[in-house]
């Protein structure tokens, strides 16, 4: 008996939750960023699982695009972190709080 698709989805859900915790928990912006990548991967897993379940390639196409965009986002995001680090010499999210009232 093959693994039912619900198991894959549940696993993806748990990975997603772990990534979410990471975003909220860690104060180092780079680790936050990595947690976001983790969440993206969980989503990719879910897409592929459903694609398999539906016998449709569309899910995998979406994953392709997600990966592309994740790459672009990683590049730009890290560039921003670099620029911000140059100004404030800190990677602590708790100290980057000027966008408030």
């Amino acid at each position: 008996m093959t693994v039912p698709v619900q198991y894959y989805l549940a696993l993806a859900g748990m990975l997603f939750a772990i990534g979410a915790v990471g975003v909220a928990l860690r104060r180092n912006v780079i680790v936050m960023f990595m947690s976001i990548e983790l969440m993206l991967n969980a989503a990719n897993l879910a897409f592929v699982a459903i694609a398999r379940s539906l016998h449709s390639m569309d899910g995998q196409v979406i994953v392709f695009f997600v990966m592309t965009v994740a790459a672009a986002e990683a590049a730009v995001g890290l560039a921003i972190i670099l620029a911000s680090f140059r100004n404030r010499t800190t990677l602590d999210a708790a100290q980057l709080t000027s966008l408030k009232w």
Binding site: L25, A93, L96, T97, S98, K100, W101
Partner: protein, 639 residues
């Protein structure tokens, strides 16, 4: 059959004058307005004469009625805007337009050097329009429109030279005091309207009121009569609302003559005459009217004894003479009251115009202590003024003699009259003679007490001013002959003419002897007053000074008008301001501002709490997202 549409032209002529002065005259020369203004009033007078001739031809009690248009048509209430020319309103219209015309002509001379004369004639024409509406209106509503209109014009004209604060203040005072009276008047009208309406009679028309007067109970008549009289005390300057009239002398003298002597102030008297059927139902109201009239006559005469401004003396004299008219109304002698109204219009108008002539010739001086000896310099003014003084003092054979005597007789003999009222009237007549001749002697006799420059330039006034003086002087002599005492020649034709509209009340048979005796007493009183004035101001001028020094307290009280203005200021005016201040402090600042500001503060407070969500810390936001996602998934989980 006469075309009653001509009545509306009596109103329209002044209206045309108003429009002309408002829109056309500013583009033309000032002279054009001094021609058009009097011309319109003259035209109205001519039309009134034609209407009067038609009225004369009608049977007794007839009237010309011009129903112009339907004004209010709401449910039961149908009020038409209409004009009614009966005996009473006919006489009033002739007086208003006739004397008004003379005063307009006079004004062309008086206001010749004033830059703003166009505005003056505009207001004068507007006044004529309103006064004629008042007199000719066939419903109490249209009457009230005119009533308010003359009040407005009075305000505008008193404060004509508005650049000086006291003139504007005098105008305001007149309007505000009038307004207080008007409140009472409106309450009376509404009470009458609703009470009759409760019985199914929904009307505001004078003729219909009169026709349904059996539906008016005595109590209602008393209440309405007194309330309407409150309005009359305001408009006609009786106690307690007379205080605006002396201040109103701040306006140009033609205004004082027209509005505050001949026409507007008589509106209250006319009102009682119009509503005479109502007052006939309430002896109480009549007694109140008579009492206040007599008291005012005496009260104002005492104040006039010591005033030093020529116009102020005449102002208090007007208040006093109006008191006589109300005395007549109050004893049921309505036609006699209107008779005195007419003669008073002649001689008081003449007195004011004469005073204006004096002021004009003396370059603006109004203090009689600085006048004197003008007899030679201003002969026409002097002679006409003297004739008017004789008329007002009740010198026999002048017009005032007949009208005042008739009032005094009725005050004694009428069923509503009382000897006390008569006595007050006679005493006030003596005072009247005294202060009027005091005025005459101080102004025209003796040495000129003005400074050298003014005395040099004192001159007689131009014909535009002296001609009306002459006409009014003639009227002041012959005007009384329409109302002779009963057994003289043709008797009292005036009252007979007015009888269908103004029934003679409380008329009883009296002996010729009584009437002659009373007449003799009043002649004696007048003579005594004149003689005293002659003694005090021509023969022995030092007496007044000694008397005023000896009776310092009394003199001060009279000179300061019994401090009534100060009393009102402290109580009514002060009270109003105190109330306004309290309302401002409590209602406006505390409640309203507090509420509005309070709402603002609440918003500020709660936003300062919500603001704390914006920490700027991304992780806090991330946790919020997390929470939201949990909730959404939870929802799907449960369904």
């Amino acid at each position: 059959m006469v075309n009653t549409a001509l009545l509306r032209w009596i109103i329209l002529c002044p209206l045309v004058g108003v429009l002309f002065h408002a829109f056309v005259a500013p583009r033309l020369s000032r002279r054009s307005s001094s021609l058009v203004g009097p011309a319109m009033v003259g035209a109205a007078f001519a039309i009134a004469l034609v209407a009067f001739k038609h009225l004369w031809g009608l049977e007794e009690g007839g009237a010309l009625v011009d129903r112009m248009f339907s004004w209010i048509a709401v449910g039961h209430v149908q009020v038409a805007a209409g004009l009614r020319f009966d005996a009473l309103s006919g006489v009033m219209t002739l007086i208003v337009t006739g004397v008004g015309f003379l005063i307009h002509v006079y004004s062309t001379g008086y206001m010749e050097h004033d830059e703003d004369s166009v505005r003056f004639f505009l207001y004068l024409n507007l006044f004529m329009l309103a006064m004629l509406l008042l007199v000719l209106g066939d419903s109490i509503l249209l009457f009230f429109v005119g009533w308010e209109g003359v009040g407005l014009c009075s305000y505008l004209l008193i404060g004509f030279w508005y650049e000086k604060n006291e003139n504007a203040d005098a105008g305001k005072k007149a309007f505000i005091v009038n307004r207080i009276g008007d409140a009472g008047f409106l309450l009376g009208v509404m009470l009458l309207f609703w009470s009759l309406g409760a019985k199914g009679v929904w009307t505001l028309d004078f003729a219909e009121f009169r026709a349904h007067s059996d539906a008016i109970s005595p109590a209602l008549a008393t209440a309405v009569g007194l309330l309407l009289f409150v309005g009359a005390t305001g408009k006609s300057a009786q106690i307690p609302l007379y205080v605006w009239l002396p201040d109103a002398m701040a306006g140009p003298t033609p205004v004082s003559a027209l509005i505050h002597a001949a026409t507007m102030v008589t509106a209250g008297v006319y009102m009682i005459a119009r509503m005479s059927f109502l007052y006939a139902l309430s002896p109480t109201a009549l007694h109140v009217v008579a009492a206040i009239g007599a008291t005012t006559a005496l009260f104002a005469a005492t104040i006039g004894l010591v005033q030093n401004d020529i116009k102020k003396v005449l102002a208090y004299s007007t208040v006093s003479q109006l008191g006589y008219m109300f005395l007549a109304m109050g004893v049921g002698a309505y036609a006699v009251g209107i008779f005195h109204l007419m003669t008073h219009a002649f001689f008081k108008g003449l007195l004011f115009l004469g005073a204006g002539s004096v002021i004009h010739g003396m370059g603006g001086e109004q203090d009689i202590r600085k006048m004197g000896g003008l007899r030679a310099k201003m002969p026409i003014t002097f002679w006409t003024f003297a004739i008017a003084c004789c008329a007002i003092s009740g010198v026999p054979l002048f017009s005032g003699f007949f009208s005042k005597d008739a009032i005094l007789f009725q005050a004694f003999a009428s069923e509503y009259g009382h000897p006390a009222l008569w006595a007050i009237g006679v005493f006030a007549a003596m005072l009247t003679a005294f202060y009027m001749f005091r005025l005459l002697f101080l102004t025209f006799f003796g040495e000129c007490r003005a400074d050298h420059h003014t005395a040099e330039h004192a001159h007689e006034s131009p014909p535009a001013m002296t001609l009306p003086l002459a006409v009014l002087a003639v009227l002041s002599i012959v005007g009384g002959y329409v109302g002779l005492p009963d057994r003289w020649l043709w008797g009292d034709r005036f009252s007979e003419f007015l009888a269908p509209v103004l029934p003679v009340q409380g008329h009883e048979q009296h002996s010729a002897g009584l009437e002659t005796a009373l007449m003799a007493v009043s002649i004696l009183a007048a003579a005594a007053g004149i003689a005293l004035a002659y003694l005090f101001y021509v023969r022995s001028p030092e007496i007044p000074g000694r008397l005023s020094a000896r009776f310092r307290g009394a003199y001060d009280a009279l000179l300061n008008k019994y401090w009534v203005d100060e009393l009102y200021g402290a109580t009514a005016v002060g009270g109003t301001f105190w109330l306004a201040d309290a309302l401002w402090r409590f209602v406006d600042v505390t409640i309203i501002d507090g509420t509005v500001n309070g709402i603002g503060r609440v918003i500020q407070l709660q936003s300062s709490l919500w603001r704390r969500l914006q920490t700027g810390n991304v992780q806090h936001y991330a946790l919020t997202f997390l929470g939201g996602v949990i909730l959404v998934i939870g929802y799907f989980l449960l369904h």
